[in-house]
């Protein structure tokens, strides 16, 4: 279980997150909703160790991790698939995926997960020898999710995986995320597409200007008039 207690994070003089508390239960799909600039990316970067908290604690499976480096956090089972994907653009798709196994480097486990990833995203099988940077946006997103899965995580953090993708591709990507979650991996997802993401989620949080303004079960959030007004355009 991942739990953030009252964390504040900032750049230079200003805080971006003000006392945020969030819990992601094991095996569940937790979605973070929020407009651009509400602090979703900052939140995720803080969890994966790319940014440091100013106050508050982050615990994963009972251990404090807010002072842990990104490379050690991956080893503890949290894989972060960042906004903008951050693939190794000149390396082949297969190399990108295999580098994802760096935290464990277990040969048999590598082949097992690679098979799972290629089953989830069959198109990557055809593209495996191509440079990752030459793929379409949707396919690159699949490589990024796949690379994060290769570390054999218990929690997968996905920062706006549907950003910039065509509607049909968005649907595919969200379906794959639901599938990953059904396979037993906890998912923490940030999305602007509230309806589609709440439909596959267990819990949801709404972030606005660096604060949690709503937290509830996903189906209740779908029915919440505030959420409907702000995100569903109803």
């Amino acid at each position: 279980m991942l739990s953030l207690e009252n964390i504040s994070v900032g750049y230079d003089a200003t805080d971006v997150l003000h006392g945020v508390s969030i819990t992601a239960r094991p095996g569940e799909l937790t979605v973070i909703l929020g407009a651009n600039g509400s602090g979703k990316t900052t939140l995720f970067k803080t969890i994966s160790g790319l940014l440091r908290t100013r106050s508050g604690t982050i615990e994963y499976d009972g251990q404090t991790i807010q002072r842990t480096r990104p490379n050690s956090i991956v080893k503890r089972g949290i894989a972060h698939c960042p906004e903008g994907r951050h693939l190794f653009g000149k390396m082949s798709v297969e190399k990108n995926l295999r580098l994802g196994t760096y935290p464990h480097r277990d040969r048999t486990r590598t082949e097992e997960i690679l098979d799972e990833v290629l089953e989830l995203f069959p198109i990557l099988k055809e593209k495996s020898a191509q440079p990752a940077g030459s793929l379409s946006g949707g396919q690159q997103q699949m490589v990024a999710i796949g690379r994060a899965l290769m570390s054999d995580p218990s929690l997968l953090i996905l920062d706006e995986p549907s950003m910039g993708l065509a509607p049909l591709v968005v649907e595919q990507v969200l379906e794959s995320i639901a599938q990953i979650n059904r396979n037993g991996i906890g998912v923490l997802l940030s999305e602007q597409n509230a309806k589609a993401s709440l439909a596959i989620a267990h819990r949801g949080y709404v972030l606005a200007e660096g604060r949690v303004v709503l937290a509830d079960d996903a189906d209740k959030l779908l029915d919440n008039p505030q959420v409907q007004a702000a995100y569903l355009g109803l």
């Binding site: 490379n71 580098l99 760096y102």
Partner: protein, 288 residues
């Protein structure tokens, strides 16, 4: 024609030496994003440590180079850890000042131990081979063969082994690398260690042809910087092609025009590249 063949072989041998020196520098630039101005002084130390093991300790030539390469690897790791790592968040001028400081320090150490006079490393490999009418010294054949073997091993390491791939991963995307669990601090140490190891092999190979002195790294430093700018900063193929191109240009102009022009070729090339195509022949998109 014989003269031409002769000089072509000399150029290729010199290119092999430049290549071993330039590849490390370009790797360091790719990973640490700094021009390591102390690279030439690592070359100089590599030569002296090889000389020490060969003449003072008396181990065989190849073993002397091997031991020196390992010692310099450790020194490179320490240089990264003690000098560059603490400066990782400071402006880039600080790295350059620190690198120049390290360079003077290494030169002073070499001068204190071995003196300022030129020293000669006795050629352990003698004789020569006749190829296409040209007489090629065995030492140059050894240089060419060693360069090819070392470069092949290095390419295998960087492209195939997972630890080597971390170098390219960091070059291509730092954030992505950190998120797949790669520790940038470890890779920085590995890369600087590797660059010192490679430049020591170059120094050990070429020292029997040239003379040793505490400032022997200065001209090499300028030439390898010209090479990696010609090839495109951070580019491995660029460093290889640039090394051989520059070395052959240098030997040919020395032969057919004058040795003074030969020495100047690197700088003529450097100015031309910066004026016409500043990103180099094999430009890499340098992300900051």
């Amino acid at each position: 024609m014989t003269l031409f063949t002769q000089q072509l072989f000399n150029g290729v041998a010199l290119g092999g030496v430049y290549c071993l020196a330039a590849i490390g520098l370009t790797l360091v630039f790719g990973v640490l994003r700094i021009p390591n101005l102390a690279h030439g002084s690592l070359y100089m130390l590599g030569a002296y440590v090889t000389y020490f093991f060969l003449t003072t300790v008396g181990v065989p030539y190849v073993a002397a180079i091997g031991i020196a390469a390992l010692i310099l690897f450790v020194l490179g790791v320490l240089l990264e850890r003690l000098v560059f790592h603490p400066l990782r968040n400071s402006p880039h001028t600080h790295h350059m000042i620190a690198a120049i400081g390290a360079m003077f320090f290494f030169q002073a150490v070499a001068q204190a131990i071995w003196g300022a006079d030129f020293r000669r490393m006795e050629t352990p490999i003698s004789g020569s081979v006749h190829i296409l009418g040209a007489e090629i010294s065995a030492q140059r054949i050894v240089i060419i063969v060693t360069a090819v073997v070392v470069l092949s091993l290095l390419t295998w390491f960087i492209k195939r082994s997972i630890h080597g791939q971390t170098i390219e991963a960091i070059e291509q995307d730092r954030t992505g690398a950190a998120l797949v669990g790669i520790n940038p601090a470890m890779v920085s140490m590995l890369t600087l260690g590797l660059s010192a190891l490679l430049v020591t092999i170059a120094a050990g190979l070429v020292s029997p042809i040239n003379l040793l002195s505490p400032t022997m790294g200065d001209s090499l430093n300028l030439k390898v910087f010209a090479i990696i700018i010609l090839g495109g900063l951070g580019s491995l193929p660029g460093a290889i092609v640039g090394s051989f191109a520059l070395a052959i240009a240098e030997t040919m102009t020395s032969t057919y025009i004058s040795s003074a022009v030969g020495e100047a070729v690197a700088f003529i090339v450097l100015v031309a590249v910066l004026a016409i195509k500043p990103t180099g022949l094999f430009a890499k998109a340098v992300q900051r």
